[in-house]
Amino acid sequence: MTRTDPLDVPRPHAQLHFGVFFQGVNHWTIWSAPESGSQIDPASFRRVAQTAERGLFDAFFLGEGLRLREVDGRIHDLDVAGRPDAITQLAALAAVTRRIGLVSTSNSTFNEPADLARRLSGLDLLSEGRAGWNVVTTDNAWTGANFRRGGYLDHADRYRRAEEFLAVARALWDGWEDGAVAGSANATAWSAPGTIHHVRHKGAQFDVDLAPTLPRSAQGHPVIFQAGDSGEGRDFAARNADVIFSAHGGDFDDALAFAEDIRRRLRVAGRPDDDLRILPGTEIIIGATEEEAQEKKRWVRRQQVTPATALGIAGLLWGIDLSGRDADGPLPEEDPVVTENDGSFGARRVADPRAVVAEWRAKAAAHGWSLREAVIELGPQRGHVGTPSGLADKFAHYVRHGAVDGFNVTPYLVPDGLDDIVDLLVPALQERGVYRTEYTGSTLRDHLGLREPLTHRCAPERRAG
């Protein structure tokens, strides 16, 4: 990609934002290399978070699992697994970091507002305004088997519940007026009378009546992230979110189309179209030369897609158990089987497996690929590969054309996987003027350049209650 004149672009002053996603699940994290660290030792989390902070990242991001993944009723054993509760881990990290945002993925189906809103609020206070909440939904009974509420939601109700959850959470976060708590040791009352408001809410999903127990943090509310890619998910984000953790960051045209779609939905929702940051998830593989970067990519992919993982991924596509086959041999001769999705990991099949398999067969035949090579080349793809300067030019182009606001980076190695990005890519981005050279604010909302929380901009009746 050629370097463009920074002033001859739609957003000449745009800045790139980085988050880091300590994933702790699925095959993208390499566990077989000598340098693969612990997925649960607090030192691993501290190391990644502190490296990201050294690299002036906006956020450290944790996912959530509510049931160990299964394939055909058996626990999936090929990938990293076993991770901490996100908010608990982040509260510990709040004590050993100073600036970086701390984002928890937490489910709105299998939590209750009184509890989760308070936990997020506590994280926000302990980190002095650095908390974020990635709102996710679940609808299936498979996950519900671990919870009191059991059962499941109708698919259509999952975002209804999420939206109502968020409304109650915001009411709780707004329940204390600013300055409610006395600032003087001689005060006659700990909090000023009439400044803390009870929240009563009766809706289709929640019927609660409670006193909020925490004041607003330095950033008002935790920053709201959202990752759903369906039309419903995008509309939910356009109405409620501050950041979208999207899946559209690998290809410029796809990223731009997604960003334009989100901006359109924002306008429909009555918000300014720059009110939301788009941070696609990505992997970044860096080499000193283009050849070295490609060579590293080949190593990374072969570590990620082991023979058994290749059979597992292909098995999901074919809908049949391929374990025991030869991953280095040809593609299976059987036709794919279409099965029902029960919500477990192993049931996540593609929409039209027959067409995909036909395409795989044609390409594998043309290139002489084994099944494992086909999975590496044609299976789920992610990421950017290149030299620090090549990637910096590319990312500057993305952000200056409004295709992304940054990336949520998943390191393929923990805990050292961010080192190259911080040591090599960040300086190259800074040279191009698209990346901060110091933190200028103290809260996550500051880092992302976001406006105040949505409920603070509207008439009081907008506040749920």
Binding site: P42, G65, R67, L78, V80, D115, G150, W190
Partner: protein
């Protein structure tokens, strides 16, 4: 009992045990809900030589106006405190009357990971009907139902801690397997009000099982590692301790000490003008340091430890730190935790075998 030396725990919630404690606090009210407050109390307690801090909690506000009505969740404070310290134990209060045991188990296991094996759990019950309204769940009313929820909750949380065997992560490059799925276990718990499948998301805690503390009068009796016993005088405490039925027993003791600025009685009377210090049937010491040291020496013949509830943290914790713990230490009456030691080990409790691993071995032997 673990030995002659006492383990000392201190409750660090809010500004102290008295509902009006905030009026004598050394800081303005709006600094209570801050990270600095949590870190300062935790490091002060660690430096003083306490074995454990506990952090009270519940879904409802901690008090009513004009007293403090705000509180950060205990698990979050405990995680922050753990990352701010290196040897002291940290035990949040977490009721399971309405909470999801699956979440509670994961949160507490994670606390044990972030503290490298220094975590405990004080089981409590949410008995006020307002708690049900806050959670939006059907009311759990009366002692039998509270006991059922506590018993089931502790059972599920403990089973989930065992649902990963210690060596479930095998990293077998030859077979491409990260996990040995035979070392992961569905708990398949079915109680009266709910069922939980398992296994946990969080690997087994470093201690195997966290140290579980609670009142033997509540529903989790029989599932506790440490019984917290009340009693208004020494014979009552001794009787309660003798029948507590837990591996370790801690006595609950409320303390108001003479400080350089004011006598203990004056301080209690001062706060009494604003609110009563409700008698919860616990030992209460109001007076000089020497008499507290003597009381603790007496208690050391009946219990393994004492949990102190200071009247005003900012006034009493410094006196405990400067005078009481050193005096006990001189007489070898207090056990300071050693660096790198788990809370279980500090308390002389064994690291428990995994209930599921034991089953697997038996089946293998057949």
């Amino acid at each position: 009992m673990s030995g002659p030396a006492l383990h000392l725990a201190v409750e660090i919630d809010g500004d102290g045990a008295h509902p009006a404690a905030w009026r004598r606090a050394a800081h303005a009210p709006d600094l209570l809900l801050s990270p600095r407050r949590v870190a300062t109390l935790a490091t002060t307690a660690e430096n003083a030589g306490f074995t454990l801090i506990t952090l009270d909690d519940g879904v409802l506000p901690p008090g009513t106006s004009p007293n403090p009505v705000g509180r950060i969740g205990a698990v979050e404070r405990a995680a922050f405190a753990a990352a701010s310290t290196s040897t002291i134990g940290v035990a949040p209060v977490v009721p399971v009357t309405y909470a999801e045991p699956f979440h509670v188990s994961g949160q507490l296991a994670s606390l044990d990971h972030v503290s490298a094996g220094r975590a405990g759990w004080v089981v409590a019950q949410e008995e006020r009907p307002e708690a049900a309204r806050a959670w939006g769940r059907p009311l759990v009313a009366e002692a039998d139902a509270w006991a059922r929820e506590s018993r089931d909750g502790v059972e599920v949380v403990r089973a989930l801690w065992d649902s990963w065997e210690d060596d479930a992560v095998i990293r077998s490059v030859a077979t491409s397997r990260y996990l040995d799925r035979d070392r992961l276990h569905y708990i398949d718990f079915t109680g009266e009000t709910y069922a939980v499948k398992g296994p946990a998301i969080v690997p087994r805690p470093p201690q195997g099982q966290l140290v579980v503390l609670g009142s033997p009068a509540d529903g989790a009796a029989g599932l506790l590692d440490v019984a917290l016993v009340g009693g208004g005088d020494l014979p009552a405490v001794a009787t309660a301790a003798a029948s507590a039925g837990a591996p370790r027993v801690f006595a609950e003791v409320e303390v108001a000490l003479d400080t350089p600025g004011a006598a203990a009685g004056e301080r209690v009377a001062d706060l009494g003008r604003h609110a009563p210090w409700t008698d919860r049937g616990r030992l209460r010491h109001i007076g000089p340091v020497e008499r507290l040291v003597a009381l603790l020496a007496d208690l050391s013949r009946h219990v393994d430890g004492v949990r102190l509830h200071p009247l005003v943290l900012d006034e009493d914790l410094p006196v405990l730190s400067r005078l009481v713990l050193p005096a006990l230490s001189e007489r070898r009456l207090v056990a300071r935790p050693l660096p790198g030691t788990s809370l279980r080990a500090t308390l002389g409790l064994e690291r428990p075998a995994n209930r599921f691993a034991a089953t697997a071995v038996q089946e293998g032997a057949r």
